[in-house]
Subunit: 326 residues, 2 copies
């Protein structure tokens, strides 16, 4: 096996976030589950946007956020995802390339517009997401360059990628190529509702194709249909080489074979949880691909997440490298 050219190759839905502050009553009025992600079509996106307060726009997408944060931490990173050839697509491409991520995926011309996620942040810091997938549904097997996957130490997939049908095939192709090349496959479960929509497919993938699994408490208990976090964590331990399970202010639990490492959460002033899990995975994988201990990997994840929840938006506002353990 040759040395990897990239530490991390992220594959995900390429999305521009629109972040606005609302109260919980707004969520109720629009039948949203606080803290979750739901898919909406173009008409619903227009109607919701019309009713939303003024917002700020920034590049998002779960795996793309992870890639941006990991690159900021010094990892060599590439990303595959589909934007349209439009203004928001230009913003997405600019932002991910500006942090040094290699982004070879061609923009979609003449199809749906760049995906957007309408994110409502309530005063408790929780974010509730409404995603119009737009151009993301055009991500296909053809966008997965086998040489790029084979040249990446870890191929990192977001669970949300199971929602666009074509992307599932890209997802599976990437996992197969990675393993054929002797590389590792990482997955984040993304969202408990997403897990419920695709549980059988997720269980199959986790049991057979995933080496490194990221999930929060709601997602891992949804995957294994367990009432307790501890039971679900033990299920995950049997399925994957490394499970990194996050529990918000209770920190994270990392399982590898018989090892169990408990990481405390970093102190943080909660403004907006958008991107917290993405940043955690970034810190963890940046550490792991640099050969750091599980404990350091977990701390790197926690520190990155703490920075991201301290302000609006999913990408860091400070130089994370200066915050990291030596």
């Amino acid at each position: 096996m040759t040395a990897a050219t990239y530490d991390i190759l992220g594959i995900g839905n390429a999305i521009v976030d629109v972040v606005a502050r609302t109260d919980s009553a707004f969520l109720t009025r629009h039948d949203m589950h606080k803290g979750s992600m739901r898919l909406i079509d173009s008409a619903a996106a227009d109607a919701l946007y019309a009713d939303m307060p003024a917002g700020i726009e920034s590049s998002g997408g779960s795996a793309a956020n992870t890639c941006a944060v990991a690159a900021g931490l010094g990892a060599r990173v590439a990303y595959i995802g589909k934007v349209a050839a439009d203004q928001l697509g230009d913003v997405f491409r600019h932002d991910i390339e500006a942090v040094g991520v290699h982004f070879p995926t061609a923009s979609l011309a003449g199809g749906a517009p760049t995906a957007r996620c309408l994110i409502l942040v309530t005063p408790d810091g929780q974010r509730t997401m409404n995603t119009f997938l737009g151009a993301c549904v055009s991500l296909s097997v053809a966008d997965v360059d086998p040489a790029l996957v084979a040249a990446s130490a870890v191929t990192y997939l977001e669970g949300y990628l199971f929602d666009p049908e074509e992307a599932q095939a890209a997802f599976k192709k990437a996992a197969a190529i990675a393993h054929q090349a002797g590389r590792q496959v990482a997955l984040t479960l993304s969202d408990a509702f997403c897990v419920n929509r695709h549980r059988a497919a997720f269980l199959d993938l986790v049991a057979n194709d995933v080496d490194i699994l990221f999930a929060n408490e709601a997602e891992i208990t949804a995957l294994y249909e367990r009432n307790s976090f501890e039971e679900a964590a033990e299920d995950a331990r049997q399925h994957v080489s490394i499970a990194a399970l996050t529990r918000s202010e209770a920190g994270s639990l990392i399982l590898r074979g018989s090892e169990t490492v408990l990481i405390a959460a970093e102190p943080a002033s909660l403004v907006d949880t958008t991107g917290a899990g993405d940043a955690y995975a970034a810190g963890f994988l940046a550490g792991l691909t640099a050969g750091r201990s599980l404990e350091i990997c977990g701390r790197m994840g926690s520190i990155a997440a703490a920075e991201v929840i301290g302000h609006y938006g999913a990408r860091p506002e400070t130089d994370l490298r200066r915050l990291m353990p030596g």
Copy 2:
């Protein structure tokens, strides 16, 4: 004279801001004057954007910011400005309407794209702006509805509007209609470089058509070509009914006939000065059109400015009404 339907009608360049953090060396490398605004063409905007770090996008435009803040303070506000029929134009329209501003100007189809301002914020909180005017150059006399101007207590014009040639005519038409209807005309000088580009036209306008003048120290001394702020302030006192002159952390000076009111700056944690002057004008005009004293108007301006400089972006992140004097 019938009662006004709107307290404030803003007319300005309708712009979407792209805000990124850089160091001062970046400004030097690109020949920028820190704290100022320069005009760039489409090719220069593309080249600069390609070299800029990742950013966040939000609605901007000087007079539009003022309108948004004033509406948030409870004033009845309308706005005239030109966006294109594109994604950034949709964002601009959404955001200004979402805060309750009446925005009747038709979007430009088939012409230049929506204007954008590439804003570089340095660690000292100063913002340096690079504006591609795009669709703004298509704002014309036809966009100024005489009935709307006549129905607005104060027509508020930004100095930047002197840069697109067609807009100057719209500017003068609006001022003439306002006075014919017995209303007031307010002007902000916007930027010292802008004042230098158009000094003769500004002097003529201030002497003959402006009732309420907003400027900072650099702008008012540039207008009157004075070495001292005090001399320039006395010049302004002779020209306009009310001059509200801001001096950053030294607060503001308000002149009306023989009256002189000194307002202290509000304590603030400086993150990004973008929109500080716009917010000051908004607080001041919201107070003035509500019949408040000059001192209260000045304090309202200072409080609004202090909120805006405490975070990235030119529009408030909190409910300003709760911060205002009773």
